[in-house]
């Protein structure tokens, strides 16, 4: 218990501190790097609760892919820091309001399970013994066996969103050179090379 508590407080403290740094860092690239640190510590917290699959997926998806693109975009932007910081007071009330709403929701959820501990037994999907079935396999059961249609529908919605994004940004440019590998490979000496006998001093 002692060691687990120690690591919990370590991860939690670093996560909260770097979350604070995300909004207070002067340089937006530093903000994104701190955001990555928050994700990393969140993955550590997942590991502590035994949700190893979620921890790894958080690493692969959020840090390995989403945050890379995020960092990519932020690095490319030419940002005027002074202008960026000028609106802080203007947006602060909205941010505080959202924070309060999220905090209230968290208190309701956690408070609910503290006030009525038996609420946990009412869930429709019982949690299997982790010693018998690993939580990767359990998640697979839920997603691909019990709720496969919902999962497929969610996938289709994402596909539609992806196609929409591609269609919105697709732009056919004329008159640029493109490599067509199949055409290149299909060329034969007869179509590609012309042998010409040139008389000296005349040219073609």
């Amino acid at each position: 218990m002692g060691l687990q508590a120690l690591f919990f407080y370590l991860f939690a403290f670093v996560a909260v501190a770097s979350a604070f740094m995300v909004i207070s860092a002067k340089n937006p690239v530093h903000s994104v790097l701190f955001l990555i640190l928050v994700f990393f510590n969140a993955a550590g917290l997942f590991l502590l609760t035994g949700a190893e699959f979620l921890a790894m997926i958080l690493l692969v998806v959020y840090i390995g892919a989403v945050a890379v693109l995020f960092l990519f975009v932020v690095m490319m932007l030419d940002i005027d820091f002074a202008e960026l910081r000028s609106g802080v007071l203007q947006y602060a009330p909205v941010g505080i309001l959202i924070g309060l709403i999220v905090a209230a929701e968290l208190i309701v959820v956690i408070g609910g399970s503290v006030v009525t501990p038996q609420a946990g037994s009412a869930i429709t999907m019982p949690i299997p013994n982790p010693a018998v079935r690993t939580n990767t396999a359990v998640l697979g059961d839920v997603l691909y066996t019990h709720y496969v249609y919902f999962f497929q529908i969610a996938g289709l919605i994402l596909l539609v969103a992806m196609i929409g994004a591609i269609v919105l940004t697709l732009r056919h440019r004329q008159h640029i050179k493109r490599q067509d590998i199949s055409r290149q490979v299909a060329r034969s000496p007869e179509t590609a090379v012309e042998v010409v006998k040139v008389k000296s001093g005349q040219g073609i």
Binding site: N27, H30, E52, F53, I57, L59, L71, F72
Partner: protein, 348 residues
């Protein structure tokens, strides 16, 4: 009280630290000789001698390089973002070495035998791009930045096909544990045809196209030639490493080679049967598993350095085409085909 503290926390922690240090030291020495081997192979293909001055046959060249790197002055460009500039090589080398915690070198020869081993390797190696992006951005200069952008796009693209290749192997194994993946290759296609246990049982044969895709994607993922666009010396001088010198540069190089070795050993575990001997004969079984493991890793690495020696560099659009239009459809199709075959034949 003191006694239980010692037996539950202190002793396991000491054992773990000892194991990690052992693996780390062996790995670093191995990397030194892998670097030497890489240069020798490259030289041999080009009919040169390669490093041959320091020590017999130049065997101590890497250590001489190490000393030189350490004793040179690290130069930090005045326009650089100092913190991130120094953090980048640390990130690169730490992540590249952290992955080795779950690699099984032999039966039970693994520091952390975790359930989601392959996901851990995949996750950490997908983070390795940060070392490069941070280095390129913090240098505050054109070539490093271009190199960093290229590598970000390149590594993210090839991770997709690597992910699908790993999924096909997972389908065949039914576990995310790296040791289980090796055990699953004890029996396979060879024993199904009535042959004794041999190298024909390993995954490279039934999943042959994936083996090739994994090999090539591994080249791209670790920025090896012919996909070394982030550091293409003909266009970007040295890409994201332009502004680095002495020890930070050495750490970037170290991270790169540790990542290459990792991809080699991952190929060994996924497709070449890990520590299993090529034939089930007593004299080969008597050889310790780690020897087979290292031999297989060296075989794959030899392939990597030969590719470096004689394949010309891809153009950037060709690289992207290969990743997205060739490897992604093939690997996606193979995931579906493998799943169907396993289900229809009742092997899953």
């Amino acid at each position: 009280m003191d006694d239980t503290f010692f037996s539950t926390y202190a002793w396991p922690a000491l054992v773990m630290i000892g194991q990690s240090l052992l693996v780390l030291v062996c790995l670093l020495v191995f990397i030194a000789y892998i670097l030497y081997a890489d240069r020798k192979v490259w030289a041999a293909v080009q009919l040169r001698r390669g490093p041959n001055v320091v020590g017999p046959f130049g065997l101590f060249q890497s250590f001489a390089d190490l000393l030189k790197f350490v004793f040179k002055e690290p130069i930090i460009p005045s326009g650089a973002n100092k913190g991130v500039f120094l953090l980048a090589p640390l990130v690169a080398v730490t992540l590249a070495l952290a992955t080795w915690a779950v690699i099984p070198f032999g039966e039970n020869w693994v520091i952390a035998n975790i359930n989601v081993g392959i996901l851990y390797v995949f996750a950490i190696s997908s983070l390795e791009v940060y070392g490069i992006i941070m280095a390129g951005w913090a240098s505050n200069s054109k070539y490093p930045f271009l190199g960093a952008l290229r590598s970000a796009a390149q590594m993210v693209s090839y991770e997709v096909s690597i992910g699908f290749v790993i999924v096909t192997v997972l389908l065949c194994v039914g576990s995310l544990n790296l040791s289980d993946m090796v055990f699953a290759q004890k029996d396979g296609l060879g024993t199904m045809m009535g042959l004794p246990n041999s190298f024909l049982d390993w995954h490279w044969l039934p999943l042959f196209p994936m083996f090739i895709i994994f090999f090539i994607s591994g080249l791209a993922e670790t920025n090896r030639p012919p996909f070394d666009l982030p550091e293409a010396e003909s266009e970007l001088v040295a890409g994201y490493m332009v502004e680095y010198s002495s020890a930070p540069y050495m750490m970037l190089m170290l991270g790169e080679y540790a990542a290459i070795l990792l991809i080699c050993s991952l190929t060994t575990i996924l497709f070449l049967g890990g520590w299993l001997p090529p034939f089930d004969i007593w004299i080969l079984n008597w050889v310790p598993g780690i020897v087979w493991f290292i031999l297989k890793v060296l075989l794959i690495f030899f392939g990597y350095s030969m590719v470096k020696a004689f394949v010309p560099r891809y153009r950037y659009d060709q690289l992207m085409r290969l990743g997205w239009k060739v490897f992604l459809p093939i690997s996606l199709a193979m995931v579906i085909i493998t799943a169907f075959v396993l289900k229809l034949m009742g092997w899953a």
